[in-house]
Symmetry: C2
Subunit: 336 residues, 2 copies
């Protein structure tokens, strides 16, 4: 997504610099030689590329940051950013990282254990924060398929900057429900694993898809998500909009989280499937959302109105050795 | 679906009779010889088959009717049913027909022109009415994929009968929002055409899906549907549940309405694509929902809170010669 967002930014005449972390050396070199390996298309020629040891050069004079690292890489990258001498205070940070942050390390706020959302975890951060929700598959944005994203603004002064992202094919919808958009972005990955499990559980030639089951679980997931967003202090309507339903749909159609679910549904052990995918560069963020989600929920004042049955079932499957078919059949029977 | 529902009914030990209309002679003969041609599997051996001239025999002693004819065949079939001498008053009718009924013919209620929903169109009907919503693909139900449906009961006395349908793989969810379930069942077909148009508009080898656009329109469709349900006197929450989001998801994954949209998106003229599909036995009900939907909306006291932009765009595309790409780009930009 870091590569894909350069298309609308460059189209708007901005001077765009793409910095790769220490895990992206290979990717940055490939972009120097030809098409972006994950987008399948070359980046706009105006984009300048920076290796991981060139963070200071990339940051010099920056007026806006767009951060698209995985949740595992987020804290180390943020620490490097904050340690950069040239970082101007109040720099806008548009953050695409999804998920929960476990309370650990020096930049996170109070408490032992537990989990927080990114946007609300760094109260003293000298940056103006926005969190970006879906529904976006990066390769489609790079292909200029009509696309929309929800940009949740932690600070109203960021709203005029949205004009830098907007193009005729990329609509940027402003939201002030930071908690809601962050929860949707994190949890839709978890629910996409659940929908992937459906695909894996009913395999075999001629068996075809199991859309009935997936449709039922999709509607249950939106319901549960809306309740969790509300319990977290966000707006239930965010879960029923593009950042909720829309992003869950895109994520469940294809991608790493759905694939992880399919492998687990087909019988692979969850920890092993996750580790194997991760070691081949396919980090399924939903796995972490399921691990940290219960800690986040435990820290809320209110229980979600729609319950948390789906997340709890996922937790049992991924971390408790529970059997997929029994869990899914219970969920399919438990609606309403 | 008429064939698929015989699986749970027979599993519950009911004596099941499957009657085919005058359009189903071929289908009934095929079922006598082997697998149901559309389900790909043989019906349960307990099911008795009846040709179109055997309605009276099929009805004799019936305690429950399940009607699964297309919206075009609905009124003629209902007229034949009502003319049957042996029809006991108050017989339960579980109706799967989706869509709007144009006000015409002798059994429909007041008024010239306009359109009504089935369940509310026959106030003097000597039957106890229930309307069935999704999300169900019939072939998956016949394969015993875990499936749920929403049964909207026009009469609370029908609720105990739901036990005849329920099996471990088929969950039947009771609802009393007859209007909401009927509107979802009708309009999800229309919105599935819109999502199909996305597939047709961006074709070509290597182009891949356009899930970003479809996800955005899916979330807009749920929003619009919820507003229309509410304006029609139903509950917005029905649109956000399995009969709404869930059924729209299933319908947009595959099937006739999505295919009609894809053909139109790829450049075929709407009336021609519809007629060609219909003549090969593929009736895309959403086409009729788009035609009659505006008349239904015009008869409501209130305008839908979320507007009707998607339906209006569909109407312009299907019946007004409007260009797909311009309409879709306008819809993609118009959110929120």
């Amino acid at each position: 997504m870091g590569g894909a967002i350069t298309f609308p930014l460059a189209a708007n005449g901005l001077s765009v610099r793409l910095w790769g972390t220490w895990l992206d050396e290979e990717l940055i070199s490939e972009c120097r030689r030809g098409p972006h390996p994950r987008l399948g298309t070359a980046l706009p020629p105006e984009v300048e590329l920076f290796g991981s040891d060139q963070l200071e050069e990339a940051l010099a004079g920056a007026e806006l940051l767009f951060l698209a690292v995985s949740s595992e890489g987020f804290v180390p990258v943020l620490e490097r950013l904050l340690a950069s001498p040239g970082l101007p205070p109040g720099l806008p940070l548009f953050c695409l990282t999804k998920g929960f942050v476990a309370r650990e390390g020096r930049i996170l706020r109070t408490g032992e254990g537990g989990a927080e959302l990114y946007g609300s975890s760094f109260p003293g951060l000298p940056l103006r924060w926005a969190s970006i929700g879906g529904p976006v598959k990066a390769a489609e944005l790079a292909r200029r398929v009509p696309t929309a994203s929800v940009y949740a603004l932690g600070d109203p002064s960021l709203e005029p900057l949205l004009a830098f992202f907007r193009t005729p094919y990329y609509r940027v919808l402003a939201s002030y429900d930071l908690v809601g958009v962050e929860l949707c972005a994190a949890l839709k990955n978890a629910y996409a694993i659940l929908l992937g499990i459906c695909d894996g559980l009913f395999p075999g030639p001629g068996a075809g898809p199991v859309d009935n089951l997936k449709a039922l679980l999709l509607s249950r997931a939106v319901d549960e998500l809306a309740g969790i967003v509300e319990a977290g202090g966000g707006r239930a309507s965010t879960a029923c909009g593009p950042a909720g339903i829309g992003d869950l749909y895109v994520t469940a159609q294809s991608g790493r989280n759905r694939l992880l679910g399919e492998r687990i549904g087909a019988g692979e052990r969850p920890a092993q499937a996750y580790a194997l995918m991760r070691s081949s560069g396919q980090l399924a963020e939903g796995y972490l959302a399921v691990r940290h989600g219960p800690s986040f929920l435990a820290g809320l004042d209110a229980a979600p109105a729609g319950g948390r049955e789906l997340l709890d079932a996922l937790y049992r499957i991924l971390f408790g050795g529970a059997e997929c078919r029994a869990e899914l059949e219970r969920l399919a029977g438990g609606y309403g």
